[in-house]
Symmetry: C2
């Protein structure tokens, strides 16, 4: 790539360029904006950047006036687009900072950072709910609202634009700035969220053959969709590969560096869907499937997102038959998040209280007596069938017990089966063994909180040394930050989009077979999980 | 230039591209707009055009919807910008034509043609007054209004935008089209008119060191300034070289081909200013000066633009002492235009009624008697001094005589002196002789109507064989048509802007000396005009 020579530095999405032009005189009375453009071309060429500089019409008046007011010396604000530069502002003084916003545009939550593109420093971080939630809890509901309601698309667009503007206020407030000082925005989100932000119809996203309206939108100005950022702020959207493979996962690949590594590695991102990428610097293959809901708080009756009062860790002492739970922020328990659920089910499986089919069992006659008492106290029959009391009512934050019902457990089993089937289908496609993998990056809250040991016990993740698993946090946001900072990252994002192979699981026979085989704990073929103890339960109990 | 290979055809400003894309299926469910962009890149590359295709944000929804509605087969409308293509529309049917408007944006008049960029045919031609006239008759008055009145700039911008919209209506009406079907606009005008159209301050244009706000504005969409053309119509503005050297003259160079010729030639464009270019394909030099007003109808009391009833030709039969005049459209005379004025003064000079200093003379005692009677009838003393009656009151269109007053003649003498001084200064700068010139292109109404013989007699144009002088009509409009039709012409326009040397006459000592020497008929040095008879007048008369 042309910008990898030493003379050709990596470029953020927006930068300032020091301009020292001579004032006009009778020997050279070149027009102001042409003078500026010439000076910018000189300054950028000297730094190895040879694309032409344009001054878009809407900025001509303000840029030209500012250039003259500054007596032709100062700092131009320049956006770095695909094959050109656009000058959008000018100031006499060097701006103290060049704030830019990186946005993880989630279906339920937005998370964002404010970065100073001049120093590279992070200035602020904040999150907010996605204001579209009141029009639909999940992606499908949003698509239906956008395409089935009068003005639905415009209403959803306005809702998320409002949320982003509020988030920008939060960030600016933290950093002691005005929103209008934010000079660029990068957006990493799933395909549907990007469509709704851009006001483009998501109608065909959820209909065979699952075709988005746009995958890689050309950059545009935030003001064009009503964002309150600086009017010269460009919006750079991480490209989507398909309806179920959004820019958020491209971000994950960027953040993990999967596309630049010699050794084959894997990236797992569990949100509403489980999205998985396998590959290295030569090739990338990906698929996505509905593995997530039970793990993300959307399905389990007591499930919740990782937030204060969510049970995130569970340990069952099988000598003393004592269940210890940890909640986020040590608040009284109000629910259980994905990582807590996985640990709970793994512990109950190892204790013989959940069988290999994922069913709660009431074999209260088995020894020892402490175990019998534990089961009598914890396993109750309620209107939904058997339930396991994780935290009794008197210890919770809402006065009701936090429980695991069999129906929740069934959803959880489907999710874990789907996850393992996705992983095995993907490696099967390219003839790679799990043991060949260098690293498995685990993104998001799932990656941050999960105990891989418990996930292996359930047969959700492959039975590999625990050091293989690396949590990488909110990689959607990390990718958005990268593309703000780096033209190389922006090019990588587009290249990833071009070179990745996407497997559509909805039409994959092999996936269905693997899914069935994965609906046991850990698996119908326990030899795949040599480190998981085989639990014998008296089937007659 | 890269587009001069046989594979790389010349491109109009807007074109249609035949797109035959496969509909999405599960094997290839690439997003609609990405699919279109890929198909466009393929189609354009196959025709040797390798710039990337973008779909600007404001057109994404309409283009994507139309592409899908057309079942992925049809015709994309693509704008050809500097180093990229922009797709702005799509239709299932091949558009019958691709109308584009070329505009000569004059200070007093707008003239425009409508061209079908598909067939190359001219569809319509029309003209209208510049609606800014009521805010100021000439360039300086407009600048003062724009910069001295509250909202002056916005008022003037709106006035000319309204005029252009009306002109577009005229053109569309002639061609049986709607204004919204006009897909592109090129604009050729003087520097100030371009500033007022763009809403950019002309304040420094008329103040030393005469610096425009912008010389070469990047292309923009007509809707951005309120034009009623198709919302995807780009506006391409011919670049200006300086405050007094506008895109209209670049157009003249394009239309004459001066910049491509091996032999040195000259271009003369007389409007409000006289603008002159000398050069060939190796070099170009230009200057401009206030030589025009007396010739354009702005100063002479009876002067007018070339329009119905304007006297355009004058012959004095010196045997019968009979003055014959031709008016435009053979309407009763109402005034005299530049060409008529030049012929009149030349005829009166040859008749000894105007002397070498450019003064009307009443030597009614000289023979023959018919001459005496002619002079007595025609030369009258009125409140402004001596006047020559060109057409008596009873024969005119307005019932008043059409006359040439001494004050008008003085203005005319200054103009002709300025013109010759400009020409000699220019050739003097590069050491070229007039006799070395291959061709002298004479642009505009002046070129169309003028009798070069009369202009030589006055010492306004150099004494060269008459075949050297070639009228080229409205070359401002012709250049605007060229840049609509041809990317090569657009590149030439920018190259001309870069390679031309502009001489500022306001600060040129040599010009002032030459100007003084030119204030005689034909010149203080009559040997420069060997074909002009030397008229002896009794100085005592």
């Amino acid at each position: 790539m042309e910008n990898e020579t030493p003379d050709n530095p990596d470029l953020p999405l927006t930068l300032t360029v020091d301009v020292q032009a001579e004032p006009p005189d009778l020997q050279d009375n070149t027009a102001d904006l042409d003078r500026l453009r010439q000076a910018l071309n000189r300054a950028l060429s000297a730094r190895g950047m040879d694309h032409p500089v344009a001054i878009p019409f809407r900025f001509m008046a303000r840029v030209g006036q500012a250039f003259r007011d500054a007596d032709f010396h100062g700092h131009a604000v320049v956006n770095v687009l695909d094959n050109r530069f656009e000058c959008v502002d000018f100031s006499a003084q060097s701006p103290r900072e060049l704030p830019a916003m990186a946005l993880d545009l989630g279906t339920t939550h937005l998370e964002a950072t404010l970065i100073d593109l001049q120093s590279g420093n992070n200035l602020a971080r904040a999150n907010r709910p996605n204001g579209q939630i009141k029009y639909g809890a999940d992606i499908l509901a949003r698509i239906h609202y956008a395409t089935g309601q009068k003005d639905g698309l415009a209403i959803l667009q306005q809702a998320v634009v409002d949320s982003i503007n509020q988030l920008a206020e939060d960030l600016a407030g933290q950093a002691g700035l005005e929103v209008e000082q934010i000079r660029a925005l990068s957006v990493s989100g799933n395909t549907t969220m990007v469509h709704l932000l851009l006001g483009l119809s998501p109608y065909h996203i959820c209909r065979e053959p699952y075709t988005p309206f746009v995958g890689w939108p050309d950059p545009f100005f935030g003001v064009e969709i009503g964002l309150a950022l600086n009017s010269g702020a460009p919006v750079w959207v991480l490209p989507s590969i398909g309806s179920y493979f959004g820019g958020d996962l491209i971000s994950g690949i960027l953040a993990s560096g999967l596309d630049e590594q010699e050794n084959t590695a894997m990236l797992i991102d569990v949100g509403t869907n489980a999205e998985v990428v396998l590959g290295n610097r030569e090739w990338l293959i990906a698929c996505a499937g509905a593995a997530g809901p039970a793990l993300e708080g959307g399905v389990a009756r007591m499930g919740m997102r990782a937030g204060p009062g969510a049970i995130e860790h569970v340990r069952l002492d099988r000598d003393r038959w004592h269940l210890a739970v940890n909640t986020i922020d040590n608040k009284p328990a109000v629910g259980i998040c994905g990582s807590g659920l996985i640990e709970l089910v793994a512990e109950l499986f190892l204790a013989g209280i959940i069988d290999i089919r994922g069913k709660l069992r009431r074999d209260t006659e088995a020894e020892p007596e402490a175990r019998q008492r534990f089961i009598r106290e914890r396993l109750v029959q309620d209107e939904d069938g058997l339930s396991f009391i994780i935290v009794p009512a008197e210890e919770t934050g809402h006065g009701r017990p936090v429980t695991l019902a069999q129906v929740d457990l069934d959803a959880m089993m489907r999710s874990k089966a789907a996850m393992y089937a996705i992983l095995t289908t993907l490696v099967g496609q390219v003839g790679v063994e799990f043991a060949d993998l260098d690293t498995i990056y685990v993104a998001g809250a799932f990656g941050k909180h999960i105990d891989p040991r418990a996930a292996i016990t359930l047969g959700m993740l492959p039975d590999l040394p625990l050091t293989i698993y690396k949590p990488i946090g909110n990689s959607s946001l990390a990718g958005a930050e990268l593309v703000l900072r780096s033209e190389k990252a922006r090019r990588r994002a587009l290249l990833i989009g071009q070179k990745i192979t996407y497997i559509e699981l909805n039409v994959n026979q092999e996936f269905m077979i693997r899914f069935s085989g994965s609906r046991f704990i850990p698996h119908t073929d326990p030899s795949l999980f040599p480190t998981v103890p085989i639990i014998k339960i008296d089937e007659g109990a």
